[in-house]
Amino acid sequence: MTPDEIRAQVDEIMARVYANGTVTREEAEFVVRAVGRWCKGPKKPGVEAEYAKMREAVGVVGGQEKGYDLALMDSILREPCGADFNDVIVQFPFDGADHLEPCPKCDQMISFRSPIFPVSE
């Protein structure tokens, strides 16, 4: 599917959700997977204090004007992972429940709240 087709499909499914209709489990998974979710990787030991200090120096918004780059800072803080975390999310009911689950690749614990979909049986 092209990105535009994906968007159109998501819009159609969500229109039913907003109209208090129902969707199938497959349709709900389609919406979940339409937003890629990637594990950023575990934080490197011993760098959190350094990261916090840099983060404070960045200021409220942006930071580029001060010579900082938030994206690069993430690479300083973390070991790379990149696992598709949607594979974990879709293993649970779409009921709005709270979860704390390990990344399937790097094992760091990730908290998330399942999306709410009115799934038809």
């Binding site: 890629g36 950023k40 938030l70 975390f85 999310i89 709240r113 709410i116």
Partner: protein
Amino acid sequence: MSILTTELLPYLSINRVTDDVTTAGGAISDTSAAAANNKGVRPGFTQWSAAATITFQSTAAGDTQTIAIKGRVASGAYTTENLVLTGVTEKVSVNTYERILGFDGNTVAVGTITVRQGAGGTTRYTIPIGETGASAFFIRSASAAGIVIRYDKMFWKNTNASLTLNSAQLKLTADPDARIRIGSATTVDDTVTIANRTTAPGGVTFVDDNVAQDITGVANTGLAAGSKIGVWIEENLPASDPAHKTTFTVQLSGTTV
């Protein structure tokens, strides 16, 4: 010319509620908003470092609008105040605030308005020409005997005139008090509301700062010029949670030609 970081702008939604019963979320509060006080309200002002007044000083004599201020005074009481600006002359609030929670004008700024902590003090925000103000999230959101979960909404807008932000991703990059998760709206340019801020938005998955999120179906098309992506914010207050005066950081990143 490439997209500048200053062209990727955060805005709040038009329903910036201060209770748990009013409709929340909705459309973006940028210059396209219908209501005058919603025409450009952003997050991201710097909080007061000590109790002080709030002052406004414009570069234009025509800035004589009324600014609605929200904050907490030294006693902790939530307080609002309306202040009529006096153009290029610094206007000082009546109240002294322990913290500022928001300020927005009833018309857009004609000049650039500098917002300071105390008369002649440190600049904490600058209201750009054509915008109205700034606000905090989750105003008056106290903890309770049980867990309380609330939702608020912001947007990232690509204001470049022609270029798409490719490979766009949303990230929560700082959450010092570990109370926040974020969820990408399911579609770009959305106007979805929730019945009140304790009602979860349908179809949105919330993740912590260990996960980067793409924007719906845009792996190859990115965030187009003029488009905005909604970001739902979840605040999770455990039972009898102590008071917080904190910040969090949401980042939009991508590539540009």
